[in-house]
Symmetry: none
DNA sequence: AATGAATGAGCGTTCATTCAT
DNA sequence: GATGAATGAACGCTCATTCAT
């Protein structure tokens, strides 16, 4: 019972992501999510008080993966640059197995236009930045990355690159290996900014 | 006459960008654009046959600036890396004077979900990539950038960084100088990938 | 439950016929049907996916009566000419009790202009013709009607007369007895074409 | 000038009939008539004060042909039954050369729903009935038609048949000769009701 | 004699949400 | 835990009509 409730609630989140992936956030509607899930639109309001609460759950789901990655990386006790490389590889692997979720990476702005969602999105973006900036700073301290680098700018660059290649992947209809490209790209960045002395 | 026609049609494009900036693409409506322009919604259809035709005009306007930048850069006959630096500085300067337009850089995905707009968006993204990739390749040929670099990946990185910092600028409510940050960031990228021999 | 659903759905069909009767098919709107029924326009779409689906239900309702008449006539095992007389008398009686429905007999052409309705209208018209033509042919075989008669032409004549007198009835604001007139008119036709040897 | 004005005014009437024929009375709009004529919608209002005034002109045009037929028949001084036969043959010939106009014969009801047009339609229908009824009565007096016949009912029958076969012609996409069928059908009616003594 | 621009009313339809069952 | 019925607001769009030019 409690289990089936959770199951339904999470099912709705996954269905929502699918619908966003298929028809786009602008054409997302409670009805379409309900159809995808095989229930009535009204039934959704048993689980989520409003559309935005459902979207908040979607963002929670999205953000939860971030937390998991961040924690895992910390546990692994890799070198900072290896951590950067590893974390992005983790995302790439995940996204390759779940392409629909890349849709979310492209519509932060749309969520930001909804008052109730803005805070959540801003914190997701903020935490990603803090996480990456932290790794860069550690890398500098450990002389893995050249000291002249502005850590925030490099963090922005890495995330920007990652979102950009996700977009390209979507445009190309997933026709190349996201993971291989990301490995190459991130490798390229890290070696360019790494200390060569 | 002809002028006033152009005026109204272009005015609608600008109003549309403003409305997108203010309420977001998902809450954009013909009615709101009309209000912004001080006319009735029905009047818009005299100028654009449909909402998507208006949005297409918005994208044309957006893409026209790209063409202008690309052409200007070619004319200037700067070195490839200077061209990269200069073109992004041009965008940053432009966007600083017209912050609303940065909204467009964040919602490519949403346009792509509209069948009639997808082609236009894909060509904008494609052309930007080609332009930047071309400069990177020239730079490699002229030994300004190290030869191991994958030109497309670096191009993706530059645009990704640029869109990411635009997003950060929006989140920070335009509280820092976009231009200065872009100058620093692009400078950082270029020097990291430049030949040091 | 099931009953109340049917009730509402059929109620909407009847309201639609009333509205067509009152303001004409060109001025028919979902809003007006909703008002007649005492509900909101949006509520109609719970029962019918589109305006044309509602109109299709109206035509189904109209055509159902035809099927009933055709079946009843067959069961009665009257002579062919009596069957003709009886069936038109049945229509006349029905229409006298439900004048609004005569509006439908006058606007086949309008339904035909709607792609989704054309097939239904054409089948209604076609079935009526087949039914009447069949009775005429039987009558000829049984020597009730003279053999020189073209059965399809006579069938057209009978239905044409019937629709024409319905129109006259409407123009005269139902001021004469439709049933009596139809009885006289059909009687006149049948005796004119009947074998007198 | 005066001529070109008349030309335009009549051209609009003909265009209106064409548009009704092509898209149906419900989808008729001033704009579509204007396009058909190669002018702007606003320009139509130079010639006709309102849409209904244009439709009134259409009905005048339609009714003018009736007057012409009625007058010509009178002049010909044929026998009454020959007059009936001749007049319907005239219509059939005319309609065969101008199929679009048959659309008008199927939408009297729609015109009747427009207050400003109802009078005109009723007078068209009324005059046709009077004309035909008069011929039938003459025929009875001259012993061409049996005396038991109710002249109005027979007139209704003839017009009803004619409109019905026009509808059939439209449904069949003008695939048979309207004129031949009308000749046969009217011949059939007249011989059925004619005196055989 | 015609046009471009605009309007206000209306249309069919979709949406998030509520509520009784 | 879910449904069917309904609502009110909004949407994109079309229409007849007006008016300055």
């Amino acid at each position: 019972m409690g289990r089936s409730l959770i199951h339904t609630k999470e099912g709705l989140v996954l269905s929502t992501i699918d619908v966003i992936h298929e028809v786009g956030i602008s054409n997302l509607s409670i009805r379409k999510v309900a159809n995808e899930q095989g229930i009535t639109d009204a039934a959704i309001f048993r689980h989520y008080k409003s559309k935005n609460e459902l979207l908040l759950a979607v963002l929670d789901y999205f953000s939860k993966y971030d937390s998991d990655v961040f924690a895992t990386v910390q546990l692994k006790k890799l070198s900072p640059t290896d951590s950067i490389y590893y974390s992005l590889d983790t995302y790439a692997t995940y996204y390759e197995n779940y392409p629909a979720i890349t849709a979310l990476t492209q519509i932060y702005e749309v969520f930001r236009n909804e008052f109730e969602l803005r805070g959540k999105i801003d914190s997701i973006v903020g935490n990603r930045l803090i996480f990456m900036k932290g790794l860069v700073e550690e890398a500098i301290l450990l002389h893995e990355i050249v000291p002249q680098v502005n850590s925030e700018q490099l963090a922005l660059m890495i995330w920007g690159y990652f979102r950009e290649i996700c977009m390209k992947w979507r445009i190309n209809e997933y026709a190349f290996s996201l993971r291989e490209q990301v490995q190459e790209g991130v490798g390229m960045i890290l070696s360019a900014f790494s200390r060569t002395d």
